[in-house]
């Protein structure tokens, strides 16, 4: 079974702040990690490989620093990795991102299953997985937390719903977007991390020409949406504590309601 895993390198935690002047993310000094859902996609892939054999190829589009995410994926047990890195890819919206990933997957060619995270903790759209599936004309199942059976023709997976789950049989090749399952993603093997740092590591870097796309189709130019402004919302509503005796506080409250014409 040949599996492609889509991973994204994201800033760690929710502490990321916006520059109030430019509206851009302040990325300096913020540690980067593999998007948490993608760690579960990787764990799922490695577990499948341990049972059914095959190869795991990890794919990411990002700046050169995204190499660390690929090295960690190799550490967890991926066989090969590809970094899509080209200035022309930058400024992509989710459409252009998905298109680029889709073209790269076509270039890789041989696969039975594509796994992605459900959602990235920075962009948060949860659009990339479904859009890639759509571009490639593959069936997709989102919110997968368990794979129950795998044959050469189909998979049976569990898909999380708000109040339960669905069991779905889906023909292969397919794309699944993954959420945390029962198993905690493994830590990388130290020896494989060091292997990933070597020049002869099984990691390739592809640019736009390598995957046969033109600059008009990708990056900012290929994006269908335009960001007009990014800003951190202002907290304008403020809570207020009333103090004093119970009857005093109630009278005070009623007076405020009247003052604001609420009663």
């Amino acid at each position: 079974m040949n599996i492609i895993v889509l991973i994204k390198q994201v800033p760690n935690t929710s502490e990321v702040k916006l520059d109030p002047k430019t509206g851009n993310l302040i990325r300096e000094g913020v540690e980067t990690i593999i998007n948490p859902d993608d760690l579960h996609a990787l764990e799922t892939a490695v577990t499948l490989k341990e049972t059914y054999g095959g190869t795991i190829t990890v794919l990411t589009m990002g700046p050169p620093q995204a190499m660390d995410a690929l090295s960690e994926a190799i550490g967890m047990g991926a066989d090969k990795a590809i970094l899509l890195s080209d200035r022309a890819f930058s400024g992509a919206d989710t459409w252009a991102t998905s298109y680029t990933l889709g073209k790269a997957i076509q270039h890789i060619g041989d696969y039975d299953l594509i796994l992605a995270g459900r959602q990235a903790i920075d962009g948060d759209t949860a659009q990339v997985g479904p859009q890639v599936a759509d571009f490639l004309g593959l069936p997709q199942v989102t919110y997968v937390f368990d794979i129950e059976a795998v044959t050469t023709d189909y998979v049976v997976v569990k898909r999380r719903l708000e109040d339960g789950y669905e069991r779905i049989q889906c023909s292969l090749p397919a794309l699944l977007t993954v959420i945390p399952g029962a198993k905690h993603p493994r830590y990388p093997l130290v020896s494989r991390l060091l292997l990933a740092c070597r020049e002869k590591a099984p990691i390739k870097i592809w640019n736009a020409a390598d995957i046969r796309v033109t600059t008009a189709e990708i990056g900012l130019d290929g994006s269908l949406t335009q960001v007009i402004r990014t800003f951190a919302p202002k907290f304008e509503r403020q809570g207020e504590f009333l103090e004093g005796s119970t009857s005093g506080m109630v009278q005070n409250l009623i007076a405020r309601f009247k003052e604001n014409k609420l009663i």
Partner: protein, 377 residues
Amino acid sequence: MIRSNPEELIRKTIARFVDAEIIPVAQQLDKEGEFPREIFQKLAQMGTFGIRYPVNKGGAGGNTTLYCIICEELARGLVSVASITAMQCLMGTNFLFHHGTDEMREEYFLPAMRGEKIGCFCMTEPDAGSDLGAITTRASEVEGGYLINGMKTWVTDGPEASFYTVMCQTDPKKKLRGIGYFFVPRHFPGVSVSPRFECLGTRTTPICEVAFRDVFIPKEYRLTPEGEGLNSFLKIIAEIRAMTAALAVGLQRAATDDSIKYANERVASGQTIGKFQLIQAKIANMATNLEASKLLTYKAAAMIDAGRDALKEASMAKYFATEAACSAADECTRIFAGYGYSMEYSAQRYFRDTRFLLSGGGTHEVLQSNIARWAGV
């Protein structure tokens, strides 16, 4: 060619492990004082114990610098977990790796890399600590092997161990030149292990005495060829000191980080205590000592990786970084004041754990006299 930087990648991975698996339970583990089996197994599964050994021989393909990075990060979480790991990576397995036979490799070394067996290092004796020339544990040559007789103490991990690397005297007349290392499996007849000591700090690390009474070991269990014991000792002691310095760097980071956080939170006389100049002076000293400790430590580690003699640099690093750790832990308890005295906070643990670093790898009185000699007096 773009590739990840191995030092940053290993540090990041171990740091993530420490933040998720050790720091949340560090206080609890220290209180319970049990061998941290679960964490030890997880570190084994990651292949951490092979960091200094080549990949084609069951290791991870790293070096001393990476080993020190791992020790530093773990010590930031819990010094006793770091010391157990340090022992398994270096002293517990080093001579077995370099001089053991293929059978010994299969039976002991590879299981140790997988965390199934634990190795220890026995040099200190009840009547010989700093002065190792005075050890009396004897390895006497007999038909087909050696008989080991004597008593070792302060054996880190001793109660959990499956095998011991034991420093023995082969010829008392030769003093230090007569010492050598011998491999003794715990299950061999004549080996007895004392109950664990009750200790001040690093409470999850079990320590005990081990006695050897007419223990017969086969010839190939001698781990250092005749006349090479002292050289082997001088080489490993440099690496032990670099590693101990790294543990001290990790402990300093924990004490310094906690102090800074507390100084920015705690309010006294209407301002955070970090606004007081006397608190600022403490933080400034901690930050500066930490930086200097890192430079000394990783300089020594880099020299070892380059195959250079690093005994002087490693001794200076161990001495400086450990004194700085003692001072950082001391200042941390002062910044926390009343809460620094409470068992609920980590400050007291840092304070106790520094004592472990003081004697391991050589006392500072001995190191100072060595450093003074190298400096020219």
